[in-house]
């Protein structure tokens, strides 16, 4: 008999249970069962792995020790955004998403897991209101994959093969959708106005044709400015039968027109600002929505929780079986999507966030962000050698600083800032070489006036 190996994560590993259970199975040893794996395929070598189990306390100690090598945006003063933002995470978002039931549920039936289906329906509904869109799916992986999904929807809906994208598109999004559109679609950049950053409508018109499946806009743009021509772009796109995909920041929608208001057919975005910590970019959720049109509903690739009734009159219920046949699970070899397990927990976080702040709260949040951002722009723009904002449009909570007027490049400036405990904005010189030595700065509600002043002081000192 094998010496029992009792492990805290294996209830049956208590002494005696193995024998008792093996007896029922009819096998003498578990190796007998493993004979099912052909001899040749079985692994018999040595693994370079830690051999022994480690106690909980020791795991805690070691990992905390390792993590303590990280420096954080709580300790450092960070102006990094570019797809992952430092927003306040309400205590309730943490409380609710930490609830064991939500944290550990998975794929249970409509009735057994009714609570999380209702929560997800509520996420979809509130997000629908925020976006002014009628159909919202459970969150997909992240904001970039949401655009990827949107691109597929658009091409299938229109039959078009071209996707027009803004010249200022987020490099992350671009990299992702490059894969997604391959081999179905061709991405073509539309020029932007170098002064305002806005989409060049003339160039757009030039590139629009019946081959175009959709036009993508980002609002606010990756470079922080507000794209104000949404309605015109929608109109131009629709004229040639193309769709408008609007990728938006949900916390801007208290102030900015909602995609549904300017005629977007598909809306997407990154939901991380809705109650998720930065987590090194590891806590994200993709927002995906379409208008309530038969044309798009069945093209949604991801789970949607629908509302329905039950055998008891008056009782409402929620189910994830919504249009099951459109999903990968059913379409299989003809699928045009792959979203399975995605980001439901963060959808619940977003639901809590929206319910907690309400529309007025989100509006106020937007205002706070804009005011702080404009304060930063204002005082930074006074620093000799600095040009900001690089674009003349209105900015939401990110903006570009150009350092060409100094004798330092962004890398050097960021290094110098870091020595003062500041994380400077994202260096744009690689992704946008035509912007010269520019960096993308982000200011949110989390920045105090003195933080911004400190940035200005230090910048003044080092450039």
């Amino acid at each position: 008999m094998k010496k029992p190996f009792v492990h805290r994560f294996i209830p049956n590993s208590a002494p005696g249970v193995r024998e008792e259970m093996l007896k029922v199975t009819g096998y003498n040893t578990v190796d007998e069962i493993y004979e099912e794996i052909p001899e040749a395929l079985r692994f018999k070598g040595e693994l370079k792995l830690p051999k022994e189990p480690v106690s909980e306390m020791e795991v805690d100690r070691r990992i905390k020790h390792t993590l303590s090598k990280n420096r954080t945006t709580q300790e450092l003063l960070s102006f990094l955004g570019a797809g992952c933002w430092l927003h306040y995470v309400p205590a309730l978002c943490v409380e609710i998403t930490s609830r064991s039931e939500f944290m550990t549920a998975y794929a249970g039936g409509d009735m057994a897991d009714h609570g999380r289906y209702q929560a997800m329906f509520e996420y979809q509904s509130m997000m629908g209101d925020l976006l002014a869109m009628d159909v919202v799916s459970a969150p997909v992986y992240d904001g970039t994959t949401a655009v990827g999904d949107a691109v597929h929807i658009a091409s299938r809906a229109t039959g078009g093969r071209e996707i027009l994208i803004p010249g200022t598109i987020s490099p992350n999004t671009l990299a992702t959708i490059k894969n997604y559109s391959d081999p179905w679609l061709e991405l073509r950049k539309v020029d932007y106005d170098p002064k305002t950053g806005l989409m060049d409508l003339e160039d757009l018109k030039r590139k629009l044709s019946s081959k175009v499946a959709s036009v993508i806009i980002e609002n606010p743009g990756y470079l922080g400015f507000i794209e104000e021509q949404c309605e015109e772009i929608a109109h131009l796109a629709h004229e040639v039968g193309a769709l408008l995909i609007a990728s938006v920041n949900p916390v801007s929608l208290g102030l900015l027109a909602a995609p549904g208001e300017y005629g977007a057919d598909i809306a997407c975005g990154e939901g991380q600002p809705l109650g998720m910590t930065q987590s090194c970019g590891g806590a994200t959720m993709g927002i995906l929505a379409v208008n309530d049109s038969d044309r798009f509903l069945e093209l949604m690739p991801s789970f949607m929780v629908g509302i329905t009734n039950t055998s008891v009159p008056g009782e409402l219920a929620f189910s994830w079986h919504t249009l099951w046949e459109r999903m990968l699970y059913s379409t299989r070899d003809h699928a045009r999507s792959f979203t399975g397990t995605s980001s439901w927990l963060w959808g619940i976080s977003a639901a809590v966030y929206m319910a907690l702040l309400g529309f007025e709260g989100i509006k106020q949040l937007g205002k706070t962000n804009m005011q702080k951002t404009h304060y930063a722009i204002d005082i930074l723009s006074r620093i000799p050698g600095i040009k900001t904002p690089l674009f003349s449009s209105t900015h939401f909570n990110e903006f570009v600083i150009n350092f060409d007027g100094t004798d330092k490049n962004v890398a050097a400036i960021n290094k110098a800032l870091f020595e003062e405990g500041i994380l400077g904005g994202k260096d744009l010189s690689l992704d946008f070489p035509n912007l010269g030595q520019s960096a993308l700065y982000c200011v949110t509600e989390m920045h105090q006036k003195e933080d911004i002043d400190r940035l200005a002081d230090v910048l003044r000192k080092i450039i």
Partner: protein
């Protein structure tokens, strides 16, 4: 010792209800949050900007051009904080999580205990407040953890490199399909545009290559063996074959005995093999994808490696490739120079990205903590227990009237496909009906089968090492009682559930795009039809 409600043996259920099971879910009859809204309630979570800033910049929102200003306020619900808390607390209680009870039903999901320590560690500010674009040297701790997990997964899989960029299993298979596509193109083999999979692999093995533009050939398992068989494969493989996408073991619980031969065959045609080991749980330390000819593969950290399922994510995929394919991986790849960890973006043949940043880093941390907690010994034991538990379950389930198993001649590892064809014939009650009733017994519903449904009336539970003997007995006991009901009082089953938070859901309108409603705003406009 079966622990269904021992105290209640003598309980006269009839006094209080006509159908009892020893369980009753909470029923809050909680309205949709909009119906809890109170005009004007609000919560000051975020402050206004400081006075000085406000004075300095004024109401900058007026700078927003009119045409792009929000036109109508979103009709979000308005509740006070405690009401939001209460509402979601109640919804959580109406959710049957892993911790709530027996979750053996959910085959292919590998439901296991997610250690609470790991969840807590993932909230540590030293990870929660790290921005992905910080200089590498400011998050060496996290990179170290990622790199160590990479090393461990390389060992466990026999692969040479890992990426954590995919955020789930489907995302992983898709990313692997992109890599395969890039590889063949780079080798001038753009004509290789067919992939082969089989019907009892997870649907994403068909769906993801399809999404990546491949033509997909889907084989069916052999009626007698459950394998796909070399003959079938030989019949479809060709110079156009880009690769093979298989799940191992299959969703049916069958471990294809000819995997090695398939790989050789595919390789001989210049194709690649991508193995889906989302369900690695029964074979840890017993077989390695890399050793049996896989060029690509993936794990689901949210299955085998214990990261919590989060009600449907965030999960985390980990894709492993052989060194020949490393150059195609999404960027950045992790590197270690002996003293510092790096994120290398400089991979000329990279597919670029299939998702943002570095993947679900918090789950990487949790999986790392879990493996550390287990050690190699623990991993091996966990797999053994998954296999013993499953085989115990098989024996017990087959004692239940009307329950049979597919491919009884094959030994099953971590899961098995049962079916209720006999029960259906004899009573009219099939798998879908039983699944309506089972949650009434205080255990989670079960996974029936992926499509195509090759075995009619399928039932696919999975007993990971997290299940106890008592859990297994309880699950079987529920089945036994439902079977009894099927043969004596099937109406109870047809009208089920009776002990859940709500009653039998009418999914009919949700299968019809004309009737489907997924937001409250549309419900308010149209109502249910």
């Amino acid at each position: 010792m079966t622990k269904i409600n021992p105290a209640n043996k003598k309980y006269k259920y009839q006094e209080y209800a006509d159908i009892d099971t020893g369980y009753q879910a909470v029923r809050w009859h909680e309205p949709v949050i909009y119906d809890l809204s109170r005009k004007g309630s609000c919560n000051e979570i975020i402050p206004e900007a400081e006075e000085e800033i406000q004075v300095k910049v004024g109401d900058v929102t007026e700078k927003i051009p009119k045409k792009i200003r929000r036109k109508r306020p979103a009709s979000l619900p308005e509740l006070s904080e405690s009401e939001v808390m209460r509402h979601y607390l109640r919804l959580s209680q109406q959710t049957f999580g892993y911790d709530s009870g027996v979750n053996i039903g959910l085959g292919t999901c590998t439901m296991k205990y997610s250690p609470k320590l790991n969840d807590q560690l993932a909230k540590n500010p030293s990870i929660a407040y790290v921005h992905p674009l910080q200089p590498e040297e400011t998050f060496q701790g996290l990179l170290e953890i990622m790199y160590e997990l990479r090393n461990w997964l390389c060992e466990l899989s026999g692969m040479d490199e890992f990426s954590f960029q995919p955020r789930g299993g489907g995302h992983s298979v898709y990313t692997n399909a992109c890599i395969m596509r890039a590889y063949h193109r780079a080798n001038g083999n753009s004509h290789k545009n067919e992939v082969i999979t089989c019907a009892v692999s997870h649907p994403c093995n068909a769906g993801c290559p399809s999404t990546a533009g491949f033509k997909v050939i889907e084989l069916h398992p052999n009626k007698d063996t459950g394998d796909i068989g070399l003959d079938q494969l030989e019949a479809v493989v060709s110079d156009r074959t880009a690769g093979l996408f298989l799940t191992a073991p299959y969703d049916t619980g069958v471990f294809d005995s000819q995997l090695g031969e398939y790989a050789k065959l595919i390789h001989s045609f210049g194709g690649l093999v991508s193995l889906d080991q989302a369900n690695f749980n029964g074979v840890m330390t017993r077989m390695r994808a890399g050793d049996i000819g896989s060029d690509l593969m993936h794990f689901n950290l949210h299955k085998t490696f214990s990261t919590p399922h989060g009600s449907g994510g965030p999960g985390s995929g980990a894709i492993g490739v052989k060194k020949e394919l490393r150059e195609y991986l999404p960027v950045p790849v992790l590197e270690f120079d002996g003293s510092q960890y790096h994120l290398n973006y400089n991979l000329p043949r990279t597919i670029g990205k299939t998702g943002v940043f570095y993947g679900v880093v918090i789950n990487v941390l949790k999986a790392y903590a879990w493996i550390m907690s287990m050690g190699e010994q623990g991993l091996r034991e966990a797999s053994e227990w998954a296999v013993i538990n499953n085989n115990y379950l098989i024996k017990k389930m087959l004692e239940v009237r009307g329950v049979e198993i597919a491919w009884p001649n094959r030994r099953k590892l971590q899961e098995a496909r049962f079916h209720l064809q006999k029960m259906k014939e004899e009573t009219g009650i099939g798998s879908a009906e039983v699944n309506l009733r089972i949650a009434d017994f205080g255990v989670q519903t079960y996974f029936e089968s992926h499509e195509p449904v090759i075995i009619p009336e399928p039932v696919t539970p999975e007993a990971s090492e997290g299940a106890s003997k008592e859990d297994l007995d309880r699950f079987v006991e529920a089945f036994r009682r439902i079977s009894e009901e099927a043969y004596t009082n099937p109406e109870i089953i047809r009208t089920a559930p009776h002990r859940c938070a709500i009653h039998q859901t009418n999914i009919e309108p949700l299968l019809d795009p004309k009737k489907t409603i997924v937001t409250w705003r549309v419900y308010k406009k149209r109502g249910l039809t």
